[in-house]
């Protein structure tokens, strides 16, 4: 069924009796050409592009819970391509371009809203760094502007411009950045993949991998053995647990990142704002809630919930930037488990096992990468070569001294 405005009107006039389930609920077959482990944003996007762009068939996505129930449903919905380094920026700009055409491509309303993102700076040195970053973005085909203090004030007059520690001097702006409806991204890819014959198999946890003579034959699951010529793992947050089935240790630690939503307020913030110096960023959802967050908790965790000190830290950051936030009540907080990699950048690569491929290490930046991650992983699975924008995301970059470390923190995952 194709969605359109006409269709909505027709259904409205006929009592909404024509809507059907958006995807099938198939039982697993004995074997597939491609098995994608992980039915989140990245796994579903991989299956979608594998079927649509790379014309592959006999594809299954295995999900231990329900589709989109992991990090794609637990993030703060920001899309942007404001990276600095050569290994990253072309990839994230490719992702940005895919965001711009995504809804027409998969015929689903993902509420992609290019409302603009600003990164505030507070010193001359930080302005230089922001300018350098903006120039790097422009060189890779993205858009960037430097806003001065008065331009920021015109947008957000309520900010605390004269904070004693971090007075606002201006901001780096990416107008094409913004937000998207995170669940709808997973649903759109799931529907698009299902329509092209991909089996989306839920409540199917991978419990082992059958590997013989260095080659993968398939995966053991809670719903029996499923054979596969190629297996792609896209389970960020649980990467170490799943890849341990293949005897691998990864350059990844799992950490918990919290996020917050306030009660619904009248329109206040029409873009996305980051206050890096204060460990705080914020946007406003279409329902009116302020969606905000800060740093990861900083210790290994698979708990999907954080602790109070970070809540206090984020609240302090919010109060420092926009004191009026103190009058808003917090509605919900939650935590998601991040694959924190050793250099803060992801991995999309083959493994030492023939036919086993890995996609993970997304740190807290996986949502914006969803379309390009799926495309690049599908490219790797279908052609055995990395996509041109994903050539740097290799396992061996640590051994070869080619880490992609945007913040220059070294191999300390909790500081990225």
């Amino acid at each position: 069924m194709r969605y359109s405005g006409l269709r909505v009107i027709r259904e409205a006039l006929t009592g909404h009796r024509g809507w059907t389930p958006v995807w099938r609920d198939p039982a697993p077959q004995a074997s597939y050409d491609y098995v994608i482990v992980g039915g989140g944003g990245h796994g579903l996007a991989t299956a979608y592009y594998l079927a649509k762009e790379f014309r592959q068939a006999r594809i299954a996505v295995l999900e231990k819970g329900y589709l989109g129930g992991g990090n794609v449903g637990r993030n703060t919905t920001i899309i942007r391509s404001n990276y600095l380094l050569d290994g990253n920026e072309p990839f994230y700009e490719f992702s940005m371009k895919l965001w711009e055409g995504m809804e027409q491509d998969f015929n689903y309303n993902a509420m992609v809203s290019q409302r603009g993102i600003i990164n505030l700076f507070h010193t001359d040195a930080a302005r230089d760094a922001a300018t350098r970053r903006g120039n790097a973005m422009i060189l890779h085909g993205a858009d960037a502007d430097i806003l001065d203090r008065e331009q920021v004030r015109a947008m957000y007059p309520f900010l605390n411009f004269d904070n004693a520690r971090f007075p606002i001097k201006g901001a780096l702006m990416q107008r094409r950045g913004g937000t998207a409806r995170h669940d709808a991204v997973a649903w759109g890819y799931a529907r698009g993949a299902d329509l092209r014959g991909v089996d989306l198999i839920q409540n199917c946890e991978v419990t082992g991998m059958r590997i013989e003579a260095g080659r993968i034959l398939g995966v053991e699951t809670t719903r029996g053995f499923i054979g596969a010529k190629k297996v792609g793992v896209a389970v960020a947050g649980s990467s170490s647990r799943v890849m341990a089935h293949a005897g691998m240790r990864l350059p990844i630690e799992s950490h918990v990142l919290q996020a917050f939503v306030s009660e619904g307020l009248k329109p206040l913030i029409d873009g996305v704002m980051t206050f890096g110096a204060g460990h705080f960023y914020v946007s406003q959802s279409d329902k009116g809630g302020l969606v905000f967050g800060g740093d990861i908790d900083g210790y290994n965790s698979y708990a999907q919930r954080g602790n109070l000190p970070v809540i206090e830290d984020v609240a302090e950051g919010g109060m420092a930037l926009m004191p009026m936030i103190g009058r808003a009540r917090l509605l919900r907080t939650w935590g998601g488990v991040m694959d924190m990699s050793m250099d803060g950048s992801p991995i999309i690569d083959k493994t030492h096992v023939e036919g086993l491929y890995f996609n993970g290490g997304w740190c807290y930046g996986g949502f914006k990468a969803t379309p390009a991650s799926g495309w690049c992983f599908a490219h790797l699975l279908a052609t055995d070569r990395p996509h041109e924008t994903g050539t740097a995301f290799r396992f061996d970059r640590f051994m070869r001294g080619l880490a992609i470390d945007e913040k220059g923190q070294g191999p300390t995952p909790n500081l990225h």
Binding site: S240, R249, E253, S254, Y299, P309, M342, F398, N414
Partner: protein
């Protein structure tokens, strides 16, 4: 989280800085055969278990001792706290 410091008693985890897996105590020998690979694995690769995890915490806002904390990464429950000094010496370090 409350870390029961062996010398100071129960302290808020906020007083500590987190480093990571306690296996970092076992630094490879740079003169060994295959030291480059050993250091790569030591510096970059982690077990990252879901469950019991032995990890290094530094009491920065306190007595500046390093601790080895055994903590469950699924429940955040802390079951054992040792001085990293004792753990390292038991491994034969710093005699």
């Amino acid at each position: 989280m409350i870390i029961n410091h062996p010398l100071l008693g129960p302290r808020d985890a906020q007083e500590f800085v987190y480093l990571g897996d306690a296996r970092l105590i076992g630094r490879p020998d740079g003169m060994d055969e295959g030291a480059a690979q050993a250091f790569h694995d030591h510096v970059f690769l982690r077990d990252n278990p879901a469950g019991e995890h032995r990890e290094l915490w530094f009491h920065e806002q306190g007595d500046r001792s390093w601790l080895v904390v055994t903590r469950n990464t699924v429940t955040h429950e802390i079951t054992k706290v040792e001085l990293a000094r004792d753990v390292a010496r038991a491994l034969g370090r710093s005699k």
